[in-house]
Subunit: 346 residues, 2 copies
């Protein structure tokens, strides 16, 4: 038997991996492969939360358009975002680097400046790593976070009547990707003469190249003594994450298109390419904002400038619906996203 | 400035990475990047020990000669070996996979069978992972181990008068590598007609393809209430590891060539290729045995079938010396090792 991964897709592949592993028997393990991160007790009422994610050249990024320092920021941020998505704060990170021989020592230093900049921002410490040769630049990061056991929020806790919220504007990272892909096309056509004007698109490029994990939100919630009922970070796209929350919580959701927080810079990019900005917002992905659900009464305890309510959790019968500004209800699919080079994501 | 990594070497590169990171400020962190694994307190007198290592196709292995299940065993074992090298036992592992599109679902399952086989053997649980597209098969593993704080053994504790010991035979993995490289050459010359006879070389091939981390030794020491003064695993080669222990402990060492434990299968391979088997044993690497130092009086508490004394720790003046069977003393260099494809290791 030889089955292509593309025939069955990523989620079926993960199911088959889990079938090989069987049920874990560790008594301290509270969550394994199914959530954003694994959770295990360390004693004293505390848990550690662990996640790992790799960024690979020619799949996740194009070195031509990715300054090494930004790459360092992004590699750490996408992992820290998974820790935040469990309502935990990051403590430690390890980094395994695969370095092709056309990466210079100075470039590795710039990459590490990015790691260190992000680690300092998030209050976490880089404690170890591995460096080896590789044909393509490969960055595998593991982050270990910490929380009290009762503080951990899973994907499964959303209840009908909860508000569905997001911590910041969405679609910007995808707009940034479109700008960078366009610049690459123009560079290929016009050659060295091409000088991109990036003044109007700096915000969206920044959101694509050096995203910020929402650790400050997690610390703010802890200080206020509130926590969401369900939580996930926006890596694959808002629609896809809503589907995860609904599937794992056994609920439905209604999303209001008019409520989606979209930056004017993102609208400008969509207009420029004559594309629909709501599509950017719903399916774009890589925003690394937090999508969360919370009863409206608890929501009142939050600083209203730190989130936007984009919908509500419903009973499961109606599935995930989108309400347009005209009041029409349509089914919202999970959609998808594409990697930088249009490689099949497996 | 653009400096090639090969100009300054791996250790200088790590120094420059550490310079960018600066001194860690986390109060619970006991050891960072310099040892086999990082160590941090989790409360209750316990520490966690974390290590990460990547295996990359065309650098660390050739898929033609590496059954996927063995590759899974090896990827986990090399990381667990770093945990054992701190006198800790493994608890949890995460795995980030980069999969080229010519790897089938069944091959991924075989890889996971290897992960699971090794995890069960070592008593650790695979708790999470990441799967993404890649041009070359890439396996990044992170293992989290556990120990009591006073139980952790660092590279730096060797003292003059300590015995220098190894937990099993050395040079076999390198002999296995020579056999596999020879088979590849013959396959390239003779094509499909070539049928390698592997009956006499199964042991050394197994040591190369599916090594075992010495977790049983760590559990045995804990039961006996003994611990070494210094400890490291044999990944780069016995000579190189001795140099690490001596540099970090501020001591010297004398090694007796005649005492090196070498399997007869390893001798046969060296004879076949008309090479010096002591070179295999001292510089071969990838044996994943433990090299440790212990006062002779403590050594008496161990089961004598579980280790071989190969030398003694001396004062630093004489450096690292090798005593030949004839009684001649020569300086022992750190030597080196090569990856499967003779890629420059960075």
């Amino acid at each position: 038997m030889s089955t292509l991964i593309s025939e069955i897709g990523e989620f079926a592949l993960i199911d088959r991996m889990q079938a090989v592993l069987g049920a874990p028997s560790d008594a301290d393990l509270l969550a394994g492969i199914a959530d954003d991160a694994a959770v295990y007790r360390i004693g004293g009422g505390k848990v550690h939360v662990v996640t790992t994610d790799a960024l690979i050249e020619a799949v996740h990024f194009d070195r031509t358009f990715m300054p090494m320092q930004h790459l360092g920021v992004k590699a750490l941020s996408v992992n820290v975002s998974d820790i935040a998505a469990m309502n935990a704060v990051p403590r430690y990170a390890t980094i395994a680097l695969g370095l092709p021989n056309n990466v210079s020592v100075e470039q590795v230093e710039a990459l590490y400046q990015g790691f260190q900049q992000a680690a300092a921002q998030y209050g976490c410490t880089i404690i170890g790593g591995d460096t080896t040769a590789a044909r393509f630049l490969t960055i595998s990061v593991t982050v270990i976070g910490e929380a009290r056991e009762e503080q951990v929020v899973y994907r499964s806790g959303a209840r009908p009547g909860d508000a569905l919220c997001v911590t910041g504007d969405v679609g910007a990272a995808y707009a940034g990707l479109q700008v960078l892909l366009d610049q690459r096309r123009q560079l290929q056509e016009q050659g060295e003469d091409y000088e991109p004007d990036i003044t109007d698109v700096q915000y969206v490029i920044q959101r694509q190249l050096a995203p910020t994990a929402q650790v400050n939100v997690i610390r703010d919630w802890a200080e206020r003594g509130v926590q969401p009922t369900a939580l996930i970070d926006v890596s694959d796209g808002v629609a896809s994450e809503i589907h995860h929350l609904c599937a794992q919580g056994g609920v439905g959701a209604r999303v209001y298109t008019a409520s989606l927080p979209i930056a004017f810079e993102t609208r400008d990019v969509a207009d420029h390419f004559r594309e629909d900005v709501d599509t950017y917002a719903l399916f774009g992905g890589e925003d690394y904002e937090l999508l969360f659900t919370m009863p409206p009464a608890v929501l009142d305890k939050l600083d209203p400038t730190t989130f936007v309510a984009i919908g509500e959790i419903t009973t499961p019968e109606t599935g995930v619906q989108l309400q347009t500004p005209e009041g029409t209800l349509v089914n919202l699919g999970a959609g998808g996203y594409q990697h930088f080079n249009d490689e099949p994501s497996s």
